[in-house]
Subunit: 324 residues, 2 copies
C-alpha cells in the first residue's frame, strides 16, 4: 500500500492506495491554510497521513512509501520544495520530504502535480494500457507531463513536460513565467476569465454580466454556457491556441494518448473536439488517426493516485501495467 | 560490423562501421540519380554495398545488419518507403528493405535521416555519454529526433521528433507540409534563401546581389557574410524563430544536449549563440544552465553512422554507451 498526497494552494488531499488495483482505500481532504507557515502545515500533514492510514484499517508499517504532489518546483535529491507560487509564504527550501519521513518513518518522494496527474491517467485512467501518454492540466496555469512505457519521463530535475510554457507567438502577451507568448498566457483558465472580465467591463458580454450579478462565479464553464458572441469568440480563440499547443506536443512526442485535465477540462467534449480539429489541421507528419485526444478519466483522484504511483515506482515496485 | 547507408535526394553515402568504436572502416558516395527510377537505384545500392564492404577488407558474412536513412516517411513493419519528397519519381511503397535483404542476405532497417543524425550525435558526437539528447537538422527543411537513454524515442511509426512542424505563429506562412506557421516555414535554409531572394529582387540587398553576379551560390552562409542590413535582419528573424523552436523542445523534453546540424549549422557559433540567448529568455522553468546547445560534431558522417547505430540497436546488439 502507498499513500498519495496532493498538496494544493487551497486544499491538501490524502489517500491510501492499493497500487495494484489503483483503488482508493481511504481518502481525506483538509484546507491547506498555508498562511500558517510551512512548519504548521507539515505538522498537520503528518497527523492527517496517520489518520487516513488508520481510516483504511492499516498501520504505518503497511505503507511502503508516500508520494507527494506539489504545485511547483522541488529538489528531488533533498526532498525540499523550491518554488510553490500558489502557496502563501515562502516555500523555498522547505524540507517536506525529510520532515515527514522523520515523523512517520516512511520514505517520501515529491512530484510535480501535473506530472502526477499524467502518471495516474496513464496507469489507471484515460491512458491505461497505452505505451506513451502525455497530458495537460489546464486550470490557473497549464502544466503537463510525459509518460513513456508507463514510466514518467523526467528530463533534468523532473522539468520535462512544461507544455504551458511553449511559445506560440514570439511577441505574444507576457506569461506569469516571464516569457512572452506562452500557451498558458493564451489558454489557461486564468487567461480565459481575464479576457471575459475585460468584455464585461466594456459592456460586450451582457448575458455573462447578468449571470454574475445573480451570483454565478466567473469560470470558463460559465463562459461556455452564456449567449454572448464576444465571449464565445474568446473561448474559440483559447481553443485555437490550446489546439496548437496540443498539436506541437503531438508533433514532438507522437504519443498514443493525449489527456486533457484540470478545471478547464470541465468544458468537456466541445473543447476536446475543437482541439482534435486543430491537431488534424496542423499535424501532417504524424498518424493522428491513431492518437486519442480525450478528457481525464479519474476526476479529483488523479493527484493522489499519481503521487502513489510515483512512490511505487521510486520504491522499486514493479509497474502495474508495464509494457515490453 | 554494420553498414550505414544515407539515401539522399542528390547522393547516396555508404559506410562500413565498427560500431563499438564508431569508426568508419570504408566509405563510398555515389549520385542518387533517382530519375532512373527506384528499381535501378536499388540495383546500384546493392552493388555499391557489396563494393564498400569489399573496400573495408570484409565479406558480406561479416556484416550483422544494414541501416538505411531515408529523407522522409517509411513503413517500419514492411521496410517500404512511403513518401520521399526530395527524390524524383514515386517512392511510395518501394520495397527498399526486402529488395536489399533478398539481394545481400543481410537484415536491413530503415530510419528517418534526421533521426539517424541525432542517434549518431548521441552515440559518438556532440551528445556522447549524455542521457537525453535532441537534435535539429536545419537545411532544405527542418527535421529532428529524440534519443532517450541512448535509444531512439520513436513515437507512433517513428514519427516523434518532427521539430520543424511545430507551430510558432497560428496564422504564419504556409509550410510545405500544409500547416501554417511551422518553424520550418520561418527558419529552414529554404526559408532564409527565399526571403533573401525577395530582397535581391527588390534591390534591398546590393552586396548579396553582386556576389551572386560574380558566381556565388545563394546560401545562408553567403547571407551571413554579406554587408546588407536587410539580409542580416532576415537572419536575425530566422534565429529568433529557431531559438523559439529550440526553446519549446527544451521546455518539453528538458534534455541534456541540443545538437544543431544540417547545412544551416555551418552558420556556426553566431547562430548557436543567438539560439542560446532566446532559450535563456524563454525557458524559465527549466535548468537551462545545465543544457548544452551545440553544433554537430560528426560532419557528413552522421547520416551513415546513425543508420549503422540503428541497425545495431534493432539487431539486438547492446548499446555502446548505455547509461543505467
Amino acid at each position: 500500500m502507498f499513500v498519495g498526497v496532493d498538496l494544493g494552494g487551497t486544499k491538501i488531499a490524502y489517500a491510501v492506495i492499493d497500487y495494484r488495483q489503483g483503488r482508493v482505500l481511504a481518502r481525506y481532504v483538509a484546507a491547506t491554510n498555508s498562511a500558517d507557515g510551512p512548519d504548521a502545515v507539515l505538522v498537520r500533514m503528518s497527523s492527517d497521513i496517520r489518520q487516513v492510514v488508520a481510516d483504511a484499517g492499516l498501520t504505518l508499517a503497511d505503507i511502503r512509501g508516500i508520494g507527494c504532489g506539489v504545485p511547483g518546483v522541488y529538489d528531488d535529491a533533498t526532498g525540499h520544495t523550491l518554488f510553490l507560487p500558489n502557496l502563501v509564504g515562502t516555500w523555498h527550501q522547505v524540507p517536506v520530504g525529510p520532515t515527514l519521513t522523520a515523523a512517520l518513518g516512511i520514505p517520501i518522494w515529491l512530484i510535480n502535480d501535473a506530472r502526477a496527474f499524467v502518471l495516474a491517467e496513464a496507469a489507471y485512467g484515460a491512458g491505461r494500457g497505452q505505451q506513451n501518454v502525455v497530458g495537460f492540466t489546464i486550470g490557473t496555469g497549464i502544466g503537463g507531463g510525459v509518460v513513456i512505457n508507463q514510466r514518467l519521463y523526467m528530463g533534468l530535475d523532473g522539468t520535462a513536460g512544461e507544455f504551458g510554457h511553449q511559445t506560440l507567438a514570439l511577441d505574444g502577451p507576457q506569461c506569469g513565467c516571464g516569457n512572452y507568448g506562452c500557451l498558458e498566457a493564451f489558454a489557461s483558465g486564468t487567461a480565459m476569465v481575464t479576457q471575459a472580465q475585460v468584455l464585461i467591463n466594456a459592456g460586450q458580454a451582457p448575458d455573462l454580466a447578468q449571470r454574475i450579478v445573480h451570483g454565478a462565479h466567473l469560470t470558463p464553464s460559465l463562459m461556455a454556457s452564456c449567449s454572448d458572441i464576444a465571449v464565445q469568440q474568446v473561448l474559440a480563440q483559447a481553443y485555437a491556441y490550446l489546439g496548437a499547443g496540443v498539436a506541437n506536443v503531438v508533433s514532438l512526442f507522437s504519443p498514443h494518448v493525449v489527456v486533457l485535465g484540470g478545471s478547464v477540462a470541465q468544458l468537456g467534449e466541445p473543447m476536446c473536439a475543437a482541439v482534435r480539429q486543430v491537431v488534424q489541421q496542423r499535424c501532417r507528419a504524424t498518424p493522428i488517426e491513431r492518437i486519442a485526444i480525450v478528457t481525464a478519466a479519474l476526476g479529483g483522484d488523479a493527484g493522489v493516485l499519481g503521487a502513489a504511483v510515483w512512490a511505487a515506482h521510486r520504491s522499486g515496485t514493479e509497474d502495474v501495467h508495464a509494457l515490453t
